[in-house]
């Protein structure tokens, strides 16, 4: 089957690639574009490790047809840091020991970013709901929730 040319904005950069027709976005991001930050966990939309933002909304990239993102804005964990400066969420995850094996972190961070982008002061319940589609086997979730609370505080301080 012929490959299809598509263009989208990945982490603020215009990106054009040839994708497999019927291929999923996760595969294309990892194999074709070379952005390895979204992770392949289950491949069936139940673990959240592949979470990316499409036009600011958290989506499971393993379930999204790559062709569908023509002209859309995609953000991944690979684009969160600004040069050497980690994003406040990444910084809070590191300093709050919110990762052990780290495999879920990428998806957790993107789910958290989508939340903080629309709600700068989320409650712990709102945070738990926002990351409820993301599985973590190591941390017991509490350090992750704590880290998101800290990041939200730091981001509010930065903007006031």
């Amino acid at each position: 089957m012929a490959k299809k040319p598509i263009s989208f904005v990945l982490n603020g950069q215009d990106t054009s690639v040839f994708v497999e027709q019927g291929g999923n976005l996760l595969d294309e991001l990892r194999r074709t574009v070379g952005d390895l930050s979204p992770k392949f966990g289950c491949g069936q939309g139940t673990c959240g490790a592949c979470t990316v933002l499409i036009n600011g909304e958290p989506q499971l990239s393993c379930l999204v047809l790559a062709e569908r993102v023509e002209g859309q804005r995609i953000d991944t964990n690979g684009g969160l840091a600004e040069g050497p400066d980690l994003h406040p969420l990444q910084k809070a995850f590191v300093e709050g020991f919110a990762a052990q094996c780290g495999f879920c972190s990428s998806g957790m961070l993107m789910a958290a970013k989508a939340l903080l982008d629309r709600n700068a002061s989320p409650s712990r319940d709102e945070i738990a709901e926002a990351i409820s589609g993301n599985l973590c086997r190591c941390t017991g979730y509490e350090p992750i929730i704590d880290a998101i609370v800290v990041a939200a505080e730091n981001m509010r301080r930065r903007t006031t």
Binding site: Q100, S132, G140, Y141, E142
Partner: protein, 341 residues
Amino acid sequence: MTVHKGRGFACINYPIGMNLGGDPSQALVHSNPDGKFTVTLSSIDLGQGMKSVTRQIASETLGVPVEDVYVDTADSDTGPHCMGSFASRGTHRVGNAVIRAANEARQQMLAAAADELEVNASDLDTDGRGNIFVKGAPSRSITVSETAIAAQFKQGKTLAGRGIFLVPKSDVDDMTGEMSTVTTFAHAALIVDLEVDDETGVVEVNEINSAYEVGRALNPRLVEQQLIGGAWMGVSHALYETTEPYYPSRDHAPLDFNSYLMPGPGEVVPHNIAILERPAEDAPYGGKGPGEMCANPVLPAIANAVYNAVGVRCDSLPITPEKVLRGIRANGGAQPKGTPG
């Protein structure tokens, strides 16, 4: 419908490592020309903090800043042999190997520095900030970096060390069946408070209080992280997870993460931990491994708490609402076993 409160207790003596074939691990330490050290291992860091802890141990033994130590691990093609990351053995077994390797490298480093300072190596010490000085005369000193450069480019010496930790093999006694399988134990005690709904059979864990004796907590944040995460896994095993809910039948078996149940971020259990430090004699700087025992005692404590709450003794895991309800029905109703505590 009544919600019954229950409290359960469990404790554990957990063996660190095992003794099949002596349970060996090896480490290699060498200095780069700039005076920074590389620790080469094959031990796996799967999130428990092996790289952080072995880095601290090497830094402490060498007497150099932790920033100047790099741990290169998990390539079994090129690294020295390690039995693996299991049996809560990493900190203890690999840490001991790292101490031996780092000690040998430190002796070579001090010998090279002694040549440069024209003193006896036994008169030298490190300040942990990258300097080697003459004891009692700290103004006579040389940096670790200058020492490494002199060793490499002038003296023609390497600053390197090899280390292995091997437990004496213990065979089974023919007469008694006795064997000494481990060299040290870690300990913990844990109390679970929960509620059982006698109409739905649902168990909700409200709080965990635990005390863990881990030798010395070489990296207290990593220890705490492991204990919190491990307790979550214990709750999950006790109440949710199974691949065969009606074992040995495969009926209703989960096929994916949608039907394989685990507690989510909405079911976080508050967990208060007390870390008790009793440095173990044969452990690296006294540190044993929290490892597997961070999950283990949670399961019996929950089973005991369910019994305390409604009088149902579940003898298989997980303790599902169905098992709790069948137990309550068999007993002719909930039979609380007394006020918790």
